[in-house]
């Protein structure tokens, strides 16, 4: 129902295409230069435009940064979802490996994410965006992980805690892996850590009833 109060913007084909080209260019430039050191002109040049195009589509670099990050972030979630849906009957071990190879391909993306994290730590509204995204990731990943664990005969007592742990491990180890490119050990240890976390936050169902050092439900 948009017979509008505002002038009823027609969204031209051209417009959406230039927006996308600008967003793509932004990812590249921010990854190379860093967000803080990037300029409007650099982004436009990379996209094959002049600054006129930019100011016609966005009002600030911050706005572009946010839009780009959210778009790319959503796509990453889609990829992850696809990778996990592809193996609905896999064992946790396999699913984990599949998920981990589906994700950390794009170094540029992780650079930009690190940049975005730093930026968000100084900006309450961006912080909320990041928190929301973390929640979205958990909502997507957790059910699948939990189902996989279930097939392996394990139950997760505190799902939210597992979700937070997985995200933390993912972020922390991603950085490590990127800091030493071509270090296979770091990659393997990353996988191992994930396995340990999955183990620690789940317990065998119908077994002896207790394992040593397992999770007790947390106080809220």
């Amino acid at each position: 129902m948009p017979p509008d109060h505002a002038p009823a913007r027609r969204v031209t084909t051209r417009r959406v295409r230039t927006r996308q080209r600008l967003l793509d260019a932004a990812l590249e430039v921010f990854a190379e230069e860093g967000f803080g050191r990037s300029t409007v002109e650099q982004v436009c040049e990379r996209a094959g435009f002049t600054r006129g195009a930019f100011y016609s589509n966005f009002t600030s670099l911050d706005e572009l940064f946010l839009a780009m990050w959210e778009r790319r972030s959503a796509r990453m979630l889609d990829d992850l979802r696809a990778a996990l849906d592809g193996m609905p009957e896999a064992a946790p071990e396999e699913a984990l490996r599949a998920a981990l190879t589906a994700i950390p391909v794009d170094e540029a993306w992780y650079r930009v994410t690190a940049e975005f994290t730093a930026h968000a730590l100084r900006n309450p509204s961006l912080r909320r965006v990041m928190v929301a995204r973390e929640q979205a990731i958990q909502d997507t990943v957790l059910p699948i992980v939990i189902r996989a664990l279930g097939r392996a005969g394990r139950r997760v007592p505190d799902e939210a805690a597992l979700g937070q742990a997985l995200v933390a491990v993912h972020d922390g180890t991603s950085t490590q892996v990127l800091m030493e490119p071509g270090n296979a050990t770091a990659l393997h240890r990353r996988e191992a850590l994930f396995r340990h976390v999955l183990d620690s936050y789940s317990a065998p169902v119908g077994g002896t009833g207790d394992e040593p050092g397992e999770v007790e439900e947390e106080a809220r």
Copy 2:
């Protein structure tokens, strides 16, 4: 033995003091504005100098950033060491809690670290600096952690793996905690995750001989 080839710089008292004031100011400014958005003038103003002082002591903002980060980073390591040395006979549980409260006090520092991480991901020589620091942290912390675990009757089969896991968990959870300030749950989950990692990467010595789901030594 420095009867020098270079003009034999006398290091005046004044000089070191202004250097320090500049470094302190840099931490604050970078934390507030972000490194990329910070200017030489902002730092100098905060320190109570003009740009002349800066250019007399450093050649670029990058140089200042690196110097500041290394200094602060070293101090952080000292704090950590002190906190852990303070309780040479503590149980792992206690020591963990002590270490965790000794560290994550300074939000500004973590902002700057995030900034530095992002920066280092684009800069090979900074990457090496970060990797070296991670190594230093492990060299400092691991022996203490391992001794504490030992007193609790636990042995660590793969020490390097534990070190990497601890750092990853620290980094990953720090971000989470800072993203939602005043969220006690995140803090508790952080602690819990540390406990689980300590458990997963160690095994009781002289016990039954095997626990389920423990670490096997890793391939190199």
